[in-house]
């Protein structure tokens, strides 16, 4: 070993060495804290890193064997497969979020991203990737374009996401209708004051139609026992029961009637869903009818006991979409109205504002809307990388076809 030319043995030895070094660092000084990379440290170290590697390459490409070996297939494959090993470990060990302290667990592998062995092997892979790119750029040919897009794209995405990680601000803001809010909580649940304020006008939620479902201990497993009540009423089959919807009240209130509950129309705060159904058992001929309701924070739920074994219930309604109409105020006196919805964040002044949740105990009557605010100044670097890789992947796909044609 260690006789030139180096092969996989040397490559894996370096990786094992890095792993052991990392484990020792982890035991002696504890996990890595990437917060130290906050601007401008990240920018300086990023530029410094590329200057250093480029200098190393041009100064030592002939005199030092290791510099040229760094851009070899053996180096690439051994470092990539070591990373596969680390990521598989990460997948097998349950990960705990960064702000929960759980020291000394699997030499820090339950927080793989801040574990030294992972970080060192990752850095090693990045160095090899960078050296490979520098070497190929030095002998650039246009036929290398697919290689360049894939490799430089990956490098930008990885380096951008690591260096940018300390600059990301991720906050959670709870707003109440009619009250502008400018304070939010960070991941450690500390209050942060923002240069912008959000005023919630109205939180709206559109729900799927209610479902009816059979529950009971003796239901056959794996059989579908729910049915969706379409607008416009209908009849459905649930196992042996034929269920017909006689009346559907999307806004209902319960009224006691004798020893049962009755539901009446109620178009006001807190109304719930209720359905009047008739159920007939096709085998025994037993017939039952009554009100079924999912209930909510104001009204009780109601089920129909069909026989000794099964009951008919209405599970809570599932949201189809929920959104908030808001006004956003900036320190620069800029004011903008917006509707924020899941999958449709609103972007202003470098911030992306996401609809996160609402007061789930009140569902459609929620007067609270929770937003997530994210600022990631390094996003353009990562996106440049991602777009290069997309183009690279398309190139790779078309190249695969071309090679084939060459051979036929």
């Amino acid at each position: 070993m260690w006789k030139q030319p180096w092969g996989f043995k040397e490559g894996y030895s370096i990786c094992i060495g890095l792993f052991i070094t990392g484990a020792m660092l982890q035991i002696s000084i504890g996990k890595i804290n990437l917060d130290a990379l906050a601007y401008p440290v990240n920018l300086i170290s990023g530029i410094g890193y590329f200057l250093l590697l480029t200098t190393l390459y041009f100064k030592y490409k002939r005199s030092s064997y290791i510099v040229s070996w760094l851009s070899s297939y053996q180096a690439a494959i051994s470092s990539m497969s070591s990373m596969v090993f680390m990521i598989v470990l990460m997948g097998l060990i349950k990960q705990t979020p960064g702000y929960i302290s759980m020291e000394g667990n699997f030499i820090g592998f339950s927080k793989m991203l801040s574990a030294w062995p992972f970080a060192l092997l990752f850095l090693w892979m990045i160095i090899i990737l960078s050296m490979t790119i520098i070497r190929r750029l030095n002998h650039f040919k246009w036929s290398d374009i697919s290689f360049m897009l894939n490799h430089i794209g990956l490098l930008l995405a990885l380096v951008g996401s690591i260096l940018g990680s300390a600059d990301i601000q991720k906050l959670e803001m709870t707003t109440m209708a009619g009250r502008p809010e400018w304070r939010a909580l960070n991941e450690r649940k500390e209050v942060v004051e923002l240069p912008l304020a959000i005023e919630l006008h109205k939180f709206s939620i559109k729900e799927y139609p209610p479902k009816l479902m059979l529950i009971g201990a003796s239901l056959p497993k794996g059989k579908s026992a729910t049915f969706l009540v379409e607008p416009g009423l209908g009849t459905g089959q649930l196992l042996d029961w034929t269920i017909s919807v006689k009346k559907y009240l999307p806004y209902a209130a319960s009224v006691p009637s004798g020893d049962t509950l009755r539901y009446v129309e109620f178009h006001s705060f807190g109304a719930t869903n209720a359905i009047y159904v008739k159920a007939i058992n096709r085998k025994t001929g037993i017939s039952r009818e009554g009100w079924v309701s999912c209930g909510n924070f104001m009204f009780p739920y109601n089920a129909i006991k069909l026989d000794d074994k099964v009951s008919l219930v209405m599970p809570e309604l599932e949201p189809q979409r929920f959104y908030s109409s808001v006004t956003v105020y900036l320190e620069s006196k800029k004011v903008q109205d917006a509707t924020i919805e899941v999958n449709k964040p609103f972007e202003i002044d470098g911030w992306k504002i996401y609809q996160l949740s609402y007061d789930e105990s009140k569902c459609r009557w929620s007067e609270v809307s929770v937003f997530q605010l994210v600022k990631d100044p390094w996003l353009p670097v990562v996106y440049t990388g991602i777009i290069m890789m997309v183009v690279g992947a398309i190139c790779m796909f078309t190249m695969a076809k071309k090679n084939k044609e060459d051979k036929v």
């Binding site: 297939y73 997948g91 349950k94 969706l228 599932e318 899941v342 999958n343 990562v382 997309v390 796909f397």
Partner: protein
Amino acid sequence: MSWDYFLLFAIVSLCFWSFGAYAAWREKRPVFVHGFTIVGLVVFFTFIVGMWISLERPPMRTMGETRLWYSFFLPLVGIITYSRWKYKWILSFSTILSLVFIYINILKPEIHNKTLMPALQSPWFAPHVIVYMFAYAMLGAAAVMAIYLLWKKKQKISPMEMDLCDNLANVGLSFLTLGLLSGALWAKEAWGHYWSWDPKETWAAATWLSYLCYIHFRLHKRNEYRKALVILLVSFVLLQMCWYGINYLPSAQGASIHTYNMR
């Protein structure tokens, strides 16, 4: 179109695919091979479109629904491969694989209800899943080829056969990359960050890197076929973890926001 019609459509498609596979095996005229397979694909796709319309959402949420796409893409990958390289057995393989997934879907259809949670209501949803399922089908075909070459084939492995593996892996990896990146762009819009090391993402990263190892190994050691094929199979095992393995993995329980198919 309701799920009740699945058996009918599946049997008709499988018959056409089998005729196509038989025609290819017997080296009949390519027009028969293509004709039968394409008719089978059209029949199966009609069912998928019908489900899409009746569910009022793309049929891609549950495991059963992704298997539906997988059963469709396998013969498609098969016929593309056949038309490029004229391997007479490839369609038999793809038909049998598709049969397996159809069979699982008949036994375990899983819920096919209409609801689609807000996080999935995005223009990214359909391309993200379709690209992934196509990649999985390609890489599945590559894995079957690897098993055949490693254990079934008695003669020496030919460079032509390795070329087929390379092409399947290359195209599969391109689509895997597109799936991964479209997922990242979507995640930024839906969850606020492009990569959050959710268990599904963790295993996707491992799978992706592992296929990269295969490609680099093939470029480096052109003649070490068996080692390369082992890397291809290991990568495919990782892919299984990513696709459905995490549903059973203790470390991923309750940690993944990618679980939409749980009851």
